[in-house]
Amino acid sequence: MSHEVIMPKLGENMEEGTVNVWLKDEGDSVEKGEPILEISTDKANMEVEAEKAGFLGAILVGEEETVPVGETIAVIVETREEIGEVSSKIGTDVKKEEASPEEPASEKKRKSIKEKPELETSRIKASPAARSLAAEYDIELEKVSPGDGREEIIAEDVEKFQADIPEITPLAEQKLTEHDIKVEDIPEKYFEEGELTAEAVEEYLFAAEVTEEAKEREYVSEQIEESKKKFTEVRKITAERMAESFSEVPHVTHTMQADMKEFIDLRNNINDKIDRHITYNDLLVFAVSRALRNFPDMNAHYKDDEIYLQKNINIGIAVDTDRGLVVPVIKKAGKKGLRDIAAERENLVEKSKEGDLKPDDYSGGTFTVSNLGGYDIESFTPIINQPEIGILGVGKITREPCALEDEIVIRPVCRLCLSFDHRGIDGAPAAEFLQMLKNLIETPENLII
């Protein structure tokens, strides 16, 4: 008997998962409940446990490979004897090759699982002709790039590289030698149509001599224009989701200024009275949840050209961590009191910073609050966390001259920036929602009425 291990669905929004690392090898025995691999999902790493005891019969998905939820990623067999057999029984997703009549199908399939289609080597993929030419011209193949969308370097690429090497006039050559300068050190701008003349070398020397510092700067800017930053899993997911949302969703951002005087006073009063520390975020989440209660159209998901109004008000809060942006969700905020919201926020933020968020902690959001008030940001255009249709960006509370009645007074104000999915909601109702939120913030007693 064999048991298929599938890519689990760990959150509502999870559509695919990546195998990070296999904790067991093919053939290893596994206990029920023993972790056999680690996967990364939307925003966290998770261990997948064996549902049955036995032996890991076949690994069907390699490390760093991403597969859809529900796809078989491994097989657990009951007996050691079955280890070799299982791969042939599965393999519906394994690339089928034309099997010759004299080759047993099982062998063929097993091979296709084990064998990578591409050779893995650090050597450069170049044809023998390209190598011979490169040797002849004394060109390092590392510097040559393949043309025409190919991935292999062929002779014409080397020829092109050779043709692009700048010509140096004999006089220029002499000057370079005199001043002990390498041609590579001379910035491209001194070359005219691929040729380096003695005048150009002199120009370069002059520029270089103006100040040693200038020369240094030029060198640095020419040589080090960029360095590759390690792409973390969170970065990758954020990049994918942001790009998807930004290109798919017609974003509109309304900005509205709110007077924060009462809001600040309320928070200070509460903090004086209760043992739990209430942040502006807690109070904002509370206010937003109450506004959403009265405005169900904003508490919705837009999926497959349909709008789904959400029963629960689950508010995501954008948290900046060492690993990048994560958005844990305060569940059923609409039904929770301020104290519960604060407690849950504290717990989620803690877990976010430690990287301990479970998929359930960051899935199921219906609206998101992103507060950049900690910085001198006045307003910004937040990107919608799909499939939600609204996100509130909150800027810094600043003291500004305001017209109150007919007088100019200094008041603490803050900009509320609501980005919404115009497919799901129009500008006017979105403005109404923002207006309602502004009223709740400016007159917080409305929160309890």
Partner: protein, 330 residues
């Protein structure tokens, strides 16, 4: 110049050699009154009589062995094996006796024997009468293996084979008997082991022969329209093999497509590929060598399946384009 078919060219070669040398005779199944299953020996029986144009029983091991016997006693027999598939029946004679005798007798005997046979598909003769087995014999030291493509080289090479003091397996293609081409009236012979450049080109070397040569030529024409200039080389003789011509061509073009009718696996294309890889031409290769050959299945009797199995011009074009990076390499 006059044009004749391969069938006629072979007939002339046998006739001329029999006229030239009384020791030359021919034997095989149905070759006398019937003129051979594909008509190559038509009229020879009438011309040379039953002693020199001899029908044999259906006993390949027997008459191929008899050919060896008469060869080592001074005759120059031409033995016709009706189908190369039947060589399997005479394999001990061919591989263990004919190919070895001269060596094992320290060169004291000569084996001036030609085994003429024909192979290949295209005529609906099914799995046991359509194979292309020439590579089997190239693996055995002591045998020469010749494979003509045109009437001109069929005649010239067969005459040389008859005059050769070592055994020669002369492999014709059944569908190519009707190919016609220019053949001079006057006598000539062609040396074994000399390839023919059928078309000069600069972009890719295509190696093809016999029944597939016209298909390769057609492919080259189409490729020319797309700006690819193919050079087509016909080896003509597999043993001895003209490495130099192919290597020079590959060094010039940097790309190779080897075409043959035999199945790809362990076909002679593999040997040609190895010869290229082992040579100086390796350093000029600019894309992986491609082989266009039959899939590893028996030749089907069904006409459509048989045609599907046989490499055609489109297969060659596709391989050439891959070799030229015009399509991704599979």
């Amino acid at each position: 110049m006059r044009e004749i078919t391969i069938k006629k060219a072979l007939n002339e070669a046998i006739s001329e050699e029999m006229e030239r040398d009384d020791d030359v005779f021919i034997m095989g199944e149905d070759i006398a009154e019937h003129g051979g299953v594909y008509g190559v020996t038509e009229g020879l029986h009438e011309k040379f009589g039953k002693n020199r144009v001899r029908n044999t029983p259906i006993s390949e091991a027997g008459f191929v062995g008899a050919g060896l016997g008469s060869a080592i006693t001074g005759m120059r027999p031409i033995v016709e094996l009706m189908y190369i598939d039947f060589a399997a029946v005479a394999m001990d004679q061919i591989v263990n006796q004919i190919a070895k005798i001269r060596y094992m007798f320290g060169g004291e005997v000569k084996v001036p024997l030609v085994i003429r046979t024909q192979g290949g598909g295209g005529r609906g003769t099914a799995a046991q009468h359509s194979q292309s087995l020439e590579a089997w014999f190239t693996h055995v030291p002591g045998l020469k293996v010749v494979k003509p493509s045109t009437p001109y080289d069929a005649k010239g090479l067969l005459k040389t084979a008859v005059r050769e003091d070592n055994p020669v397996l002369f492999v014709e293609q059944k569908m190519a008997y009707g190919f016609s081409g220019e053949v001079p009236e006057e006598e000539y012979t062609l040396p074994l082991g000399q390839a023919e450049i059928r078309k000069e080109g600069s972009d890719v070397t295509v190696v093809a022969s016999a029944y597939l040569l016209p298909r390769a030529m057609k492919a080259a024409e189409k490729l020319k329209e797309e700006g690819i200039d193919a050079e087509i080389i016909d080896p003509l003789s597999l043993v001895p093999f003209d490495e130099e011509t192919i290597i020079e061509s590959v060094a010039k073009t940097g790309r190779v497509v080897v075409v043959h009718e035999a199945v790809k696996r362990s076909g002679f294309g593999a040997e040609i590929a190895s010869k290229i890889m082992e040579s100086e031409a390796f350093y000029y290769l600019d894309s992986p060598l491609k082989r266009v050959a039959a899939p590893e299945i028996p030749v089907p009797y069904n006409e459509k399946l048989e045609n599907h199995r046989m490499p055609d011009a489109d297969d060659i074009i596709e391989a050439v384009k891959k070799a030229c990076y015009l399509e991704r390499i599979k």
